[in-house]
């Protein structure tokens, strides 16, 4: 407890870091559950790469301004995600192949834009994020996006569940699957962009998908699953931040390793489809 108190009294950085982590856990983990249910778990990682061209342009124009980098990443992320979804729904390519091609194009464009740039290392720093360097403005942006995400998720909930479970039926009743998919992808990209400033792009994906994948082992009720995912994300963020400070390690990876630990526990001890349940012989029930 002394350790915790010390962190809060030594300056505003730790308080901001904790607040950012809590906000990210609340909005990212529910999205992660849907990523897993929609079999898009790996897409999260891909979406981080399509932020690069926008971040590069923003960096060239405005330097290391957090707001500019967030805006740039968001714009290029949305453009590429829209293009990819459009190709997937109008041509014979499926979403995965379409996205795979577009994200490589985006990544290559970003690298060309930054070629010969002396300060590319600063940008790299920005891409990897630092939760202890978050300023008041960034924290405000992170909290705003997180709040908006939960609000939008509540609004599109029914459509998102139906489209995830039975997309053929949803389109047969005129539900507008493209709109739902795009709203969902927009939320993912928004959360990756704000997560990137705090944890770094790749670690931001981890705080979404790992709690989502772990939660599946503990419930068959979607609502409960979201709660568990948020809980896992919160424990990872808080535990990870404290340990990182204590041991002098980079916070992003420590947070993810905490989540990873809980993922492994879920795999082994999980109530639904966990390894122990699976291999322990139990007497069968009455027919």
């Amino acid at each position: 407890m002394d350790l915790l108190a010390e962190q809060f009294t030594s300056g505003p950085e730790f308080g901001r870091a904790i607040s950012a982590a809590i906000a990210l856990s609340f909005s990212g983990a529910p999205l992660g559950v849907f990523l897993v249910l929609r079999r898009m778990s790996l897409s999260g990682d891909v979406y981080t790469h399509i932020l690069l061209p926008g971040v590069a342009v923003a960096f060239l124009i405005a330097g290391e301004s957090t707001i500019a980098l967030i805006t740039g990443g968001l714009v290029s992320g949305l453009i590429v995600a829209c293009l990819s979804a459009l190709v997937a729904r109008t041509t014979l390519l499926r979403e995965d192949a379409s996205l795979a091609a577009f994200y490589m194009i985006a990544l290559a464009s970003g690298m060309i834009l930054l070629a010969g740039e002396d300060h590319a290392e600063e940008l790299l720093h920005a891409l990897f994020g630092n939760v202890f360097a978050i300023d008041g403005t960034s924290l405000l942006v992170i909290s705003a996006v997180s709040t908006a995400t939960l609000f939008v998720l509540a609004v599109i909930w029914r459509a998102l569940v139906m489209e995830s479970y039975d997309p053929v039926f949803f389109s047969s009743v005129g539900g507008g699957g493209v709109a739902v998919h795009m709203a969902f992808v927009t939320l993912i990209i928004l959360n990756l962009v704000i997560g990137a400033t705090a944890l770094g792009t790749i670690m931001a994906v981890g705080l979404m998908t790992i709690p989502g994948a772990s939660a599946r082992f503990w419930s068959r009720d979607l609502g409960v699953m979201l709660g568990i995912a948020i809980g896992i994300a919160l424990i990872s963020s808080l535990g990870g931040l404290l340990s990182a400070v204590h041991m002098g390690l980079p916070p992003g990876p420590v947070i993810i390793l905490f989540a990873g630990g809980m993922y492994i526990v879920s795999i082994i001890f999980g109530r639904f489809g966990g390894l122990i349940r699976r291999f322990r012989r139990q007497a069968h029930l009455e027919s």
């Binding site: 249910l37 609004v155 599109i156 029914r158 459509a159 569940v161 139906m162 995830s164 479970y165 039975d166 053929v168 039926f169 949803f170 389109s171 047969s172 009743v173 005129g174 539900g175 599946r216 419930s219 068959r220 009720d221 979607l222 699953m225 489809g273």
Partner: protein, 249 residues
């Protein structure tokens, strides 16, 4: 004679310019109970997709009187649903309320009662809170029929509703279809079991890309027609010339 509800005029549907349904003309009368029969690859599923609006015609038109695509319920062949998806049987049936509730209106108690009643009709009382993924293939088909009941559509398009379904389940679901017929809803179903067609479907449309025959079931299912359909269905001409025909056969 009631007015035709869905009229097909020289309708051609297909994939990459190759017709799967070729120059089909005719009408589904209001409240008809029609079986669509024919060998594999005859264009039966394609026809249902065309009628439901999921597929645009290559040529010809589908015109509707007193119905529109929003009034149709479509049960596709072999629904592939993720068995591990966290959703209950009751919630799955409640999906049928989308037409009335949409995104924002709440699912009223009345709608939930309707969903429970629909589960009763298909013989699944007490299954409300079970995970949908824990059901057998036949039970899941019953659930999908319950969802159709809740949808309350004027036109039911069913693509092979009884394939891989046991007799008891088929009987229950056929009684649902007969109930729809009594309520003067239009039912168009792709069926492979000819005995079932003869017993339960007064009208039939036999397809083999082209229309072989369309009318009263006993006449349509003649031995001669069945043989013709079998012979035609297997063709796929790789470098087919452009079809110059302008009218239905």
């Amino acid at each position: 004679m009631s007015a035709p509800a869905i009229r097909l005029d020289n309708l051609t549907l297909g994939y990459e310019r190759h017709p799967a349904v070729h120059h089909l003309s005719g009408a589904f009368q209001q409240g008809c109970l029609t079986a669509v029969v024919g060998p594999n690859g005859a264009g039966k599923s394609t026809l249902l997709k065309g009628i439901s609006g999921a597929m645009k015609p290559l040529d010809g038109t589908i015109s509707m009187t007193a119905v529109e695509t929003a009034d149709m319920a479509f049960l596709p062949q072999q629904t592939q649903l993720d068995a591990s998806f966290p959703i209950s049987v009751l919630d799955t049936v409640c999906m049928g309320c989308w037409g009335r509730a949409g995104l924002f209106r709440s699912i009223m108690a009345g709608m939930v009662d309707q969903a429970r009643a629909a589960l009763g009709v298909v013989g699944l009382e007490g299954f409300e809170n079970r995970p949908a993924g824990a059901l057998s293939r036949g039970q899941l088909q019953r659930v999908l029929f319950a969802r159709l009941l809740v949808q309350d559509a004027k036109v039911m398009l069913l693509d092979e509703p009884f394939t891989a379904i046991d007799e008891a389940t088929s009987e229950t679901l056929l009684s649902v279809i007969h109930q729809w017929h009594k309520e003067e809803r239009m039912v168009i179903a792709v069926i492979h079991d000819m005995a079932q067609v003869r017993e339960h479907f007064p009208q039939s449309l036999m397809l083999a890309r082209e229309c072989i025959d369309w009318g009263v079931t006993d006449q349509v299912l003649s031995a001669e027609n069945l043989q013709t359909a079998r012979d035609i269905a297997n063709g796929w001409v790789e470098n087919a010339a452009i079809c110059e025909r302008t009218e239905a056969a």
